[in-house]
């Protein structure tokens, strides 16, 4: 077997608390399918037959009842971990170390992309890499996010990614938070790769191909708890560290026995030797290929640990971990899905104007004289007459009474929007009720503050 897929679905969605208050992040609907369906669909399309899903018990319960998840034909091996426990992604990998028999492909549940996965995996295979990851040029989110006053700069910390001339080999990775004074690059890297491109506008897709040796290494090193935050920078740095680059003139077997004999002191070393190393070495010697030129060293500078990255410049790649990303993803979900935008069981009256970008879920009822443009409407939602819905995301079980005007909003499940309400850029929480004839602009509701509006339209602002 070549690769095992692991889906990390235990994240809390800490950056969108209003949305995830009732629904855990992996089950948030995007294009009327749960969020975790999208990476699973990607894996299924590419040819995987089994996926190990690491998630919480709550999500597992929801998964078993959700009809859309039944569409997934692969065998899902669900591993539950504690919700309150502070388990990072690397801790989760360590937890399932027994199940990992070969190289892993780790995917995050909030990734929505149409990347040709073979590009990432080919890098992993062809160069015998230890790590291959996917990154994408970040797109600015153009939609106004409900609940935010104006276009607030999110203040996300930037990632600095250094790649070599070919754009494939990953040389350097650091987050702005870790750099205090400035960016310092070791001389050994500069000597080996004198031309380095440093990019900042990249989004890490959280899709990693890791060698099995890395998982074993994690099992020994309990101090690493996050793949993205700690493991990746460690691996990227280790490419150029002296210990892994010393030419091993001894036999392979001797190496391994020596290392295990030393036991505790050397357990932190990452062993990347493979069997038949002398044969591979011979093949490389006889091959007239080098990955760089201009200096006297052999291919890959003799280094065994190699990290590669595939940077997508075209195509969709979104990580749905903020509200803005969530909205954007819903917009584009119709492009990704092959199913018809309007579910066959939805009842839509003839005098309804529906734009091509909209998605209507199952068992919806849309009455006359409504206009639905660029919106996503969830399952079992009722939209009464004369409602105008634009640029909005309406989740399941929502009732929208007559005459409402909803623009740029996110309305969570089971909410009720009273008659004649006029909502712009609002976020209505789960099960909320908006009273009739209310008007709100850029408002957030959650279970704690009930929105009550009086009949004469008053504009209220708040968070």
């Amino acid at each position: 077997m070549e690769l095992q897929a692991v889906l990390m679905a235990a994240g809390g969605g800490s950056r969108m608390p209003d949305l995830t208050y009732n629904t855990p992040k992996p089950m948030l609907p995007v294009g009327n399918k749960p969020l975790m369906w999208h990476p699973l669909n990607l894996l299924e399309r590419v040819g995987f037959e089994e996926v190990i899903v690491i998630t919480t018990k709550e999500v597992q319960k929801m998964m078993s009842t959700d009809p859309k998840m039944k569409d997934v034909k692969m065998k899902l091996d669900v591993v539950c971990i504690q919700e309150d426990g502070d388990m990072g992604t690397a801790d989760a990998l360590r937890h399932i170390q027994q199940k990992i028999k070969t190289d892993v492909l780790v995917v995050s549940c909030d990734l929505i992309t149409d990347v040709a996965l073979h590009e990432v995996v080919d890098l992993f295979r062809a160069h015998n890499a230890t790590l291959a990851m996917l990154m994408s040029k970040a797109h600015d989110f153009t939609e106004t996010v409900p609940g935010q006053k104006g276009k607030k700069k999110t203040g996300e910390q930037r990632d600095f990614v250094g790649v070599d001339q070919s754009g494939k080999r990953l040389l350097f990775m650091a987050n702005e938070a870790d750099l205090e004074d400035g960016l310092s690059i070791r001389k050994s890297i500069m000597r080996k790769h004198p031309r380095m491109h440093i990019k900042t506008g990249l989004v890490d897709a959280h899709l990693y191909c890791l060698k099995k040796a890395v998982v074993d290494f994690l099992a020994d090193n309990k101090s690493i708890s996050s793949i993205r935050g700690e493991l990746l920078p460690y691996l990227v740095r280790k490419q150029f560290s002296k210990t892994t680059n010393c030419p091993k003139s001894k036999d392979d077997a001797d190496d391994q026995t020596q290392k295990t004999a030393d036991g505790s002191t050397n357990s932190t070393e990452l062993l990347i030797c493979s069997r038949d190393e002398p044969l591979l070495q011979l093949a490389q010697e006889r091959s007239c290929w080098n990955d760089h030129r201009g200096d006297m060293s052999e291919a890959y500078h003799g280094g065994k640990l190699r990290c590669y990255v595939h940077i997508m410049d075209q195509g969709l790649c979104y990580r749905v971990n903020t509200l803005a990303a969530y909205i954007e993803a819903n917009r584009l979900a119709s492009k990704l899905l092959e199913e018809p935008a309007v579910h066959p069981s939805a009842v839509i009256s003839e005098r309804c104007q529906m734009g091509p970008d909209s998605i209507i879920g199952a068992q919806c009822q849309v009455a006359d004289k409504t206009s639905i443009k660029r919106s996503t409407i969830g399952n079992s939602t009722t939209v009464k007459e004369k409602v105008k819905v634009t640029n909005s995301i309406i989740m399941h079980g929502v009732t929208i009474e007559e005459g409402c005007n909803i623009h740029g909003c996110v309305i969570c499940s089971n909410a009720v929007i009273g008659r004649g309400a006029d909502l712009k850029y609002c976020l209505v929480g789960n099960g909320q009720q908006i009273e009739a004839e209310g008007e709100a602009h850029s408002f957030h509701t959650s279970t704690f503050n009930m929105l009550s509006l009086f009949s004469p339209p008053t504009v209220t602002r708040g968070t």
Binding site: M1, E2, L3, G47, A126, Q284, E285, N290
Partner: protein
Amino acid sequence: KEEKQRLRKEKKQQKKNKEKNDEKTSHEEQPAGSASQPPAQPSPKAVPVPASEAPAPADKPAKSKADLKAERRARQEAERASKGKKGDVGQPAPTGKLKAPPSELQPVVKRLPEHVQVDNPEVVKKLAKKLERQQIPLRSDYGYKVSLFSHLHQYSRKAPLTQQLGIPSTVIHPAIVRLGLQYSQGIVAGSNARSVALLHAFQQVIRDYTTPPNEELSRDLVNKLKPYISFLNQCRPLSASMGNAIKYIKKEISNIPSQCKEEEAKIKLLNCIERYINEKIVLAAKAIAKYSIEKISDGDVILFPPNCSFNVTISTSISSSLVNHILCEAFEKKRKFRVIVVDSRPRLEGREALRRLVQKGISCTYVLISAVSYILPEVSKVFLGAHALLANGYVMSRVGTSQIALVAKAFNVPVLVCCETYKFCERVQTDSFVSNELDDPDDLIVTRKGKTQLEHWQKVPSLGLLNLVYDVTPPDFVDLVITDLGMIPCTSVPVVLRVKNVDQ
């Protein structure tokens, strides 16, 4: 019953003879005649064996009847054994008639690889059907092909075969997928490197192999390897050395006795592979280096201080790993010489060769092939590497080699070809058109000063880009071939092949 057998065999022989006449080379017939005399076996045995070594086309339609034939064979063998005849021919060789030559009667009719015929739609259809059966995607050709070479495949590096495979590849072993990718991207290039990498991948396949129930390892493993070989062929056409290595492995696998336990069989096969690599590649390189060093030193070594011009200047063409190795060894043996490395676009493999020589401390000069006639007056010997040596003495090597040999002949400079015996091939070719390899034409596109002139070459209807990989050098231009068996003239290649077949 015996008569029935004989009738059946005669009928078979007739059918095979008809197809044998379609074979291209005639020299097989002669050794066929001579080799069947020496083993003094009763004639019924001599008859079925040449018939059974029939060429490949016969095997394909008979694939579906292979089981029936195997049963018939088993029955024949049982009858033969019961009649008290020697059981040496009746070895368990159920892998089909092709792959199991009995030990005494030599496989005198060799199966030659068929020529690629991409412009013949029937052949393409047959190939597509075969690939579909083996569940391997068909790689589509790319771009406009120059009409003289339209019968060859031309693939694009940007469209790897893995695009059409599922990601955790279940049909094809991951080591083979990795190898195919490395071939198509040029990470493993050069016939020695490719063969070693291939054998390494086969080792992994054998290690991970388990015999399914009711199957024999000797038959099933060979069948498992067939789709892998098709896959590798799709990624990049197999080289002659790889073909020989594969033949060897298949023979070894089919020679495993059926009583052998799986573990023992696997260990035996792994050892065979190690031995093959050791003997045919590593030790052969050492032997060739030993012979060549004699040639280098022969009257030309002058122990001058380094800044004087030497008498021995050697020109190395277009990067052969073997010639590199020889020169490094010669340098270690303290021969004084100077090397001129000749390189050519688009591969520019000479740069890597240059790096390795300079790293050792050899003083080198680097020229492109267009400067060969300028630099040849300074040269005392030309060393060439070979991709394969054909049975009529022609040397198949990287494109440009025949040019260098021609110019060297014009200047009366001796040309020495270094080649291991495992690269000797039974094919015959007199020109570079019939069987060659077309590389990605986009490799010829180069960006200088920010401008890429050939970027839209596909839109120009009268323009075709041709990126040939191999060419053949006639034996008139080659003075000596240095092999691990010694230094032989080019025309002795068929003799070596015959000797090799008898040995095996």
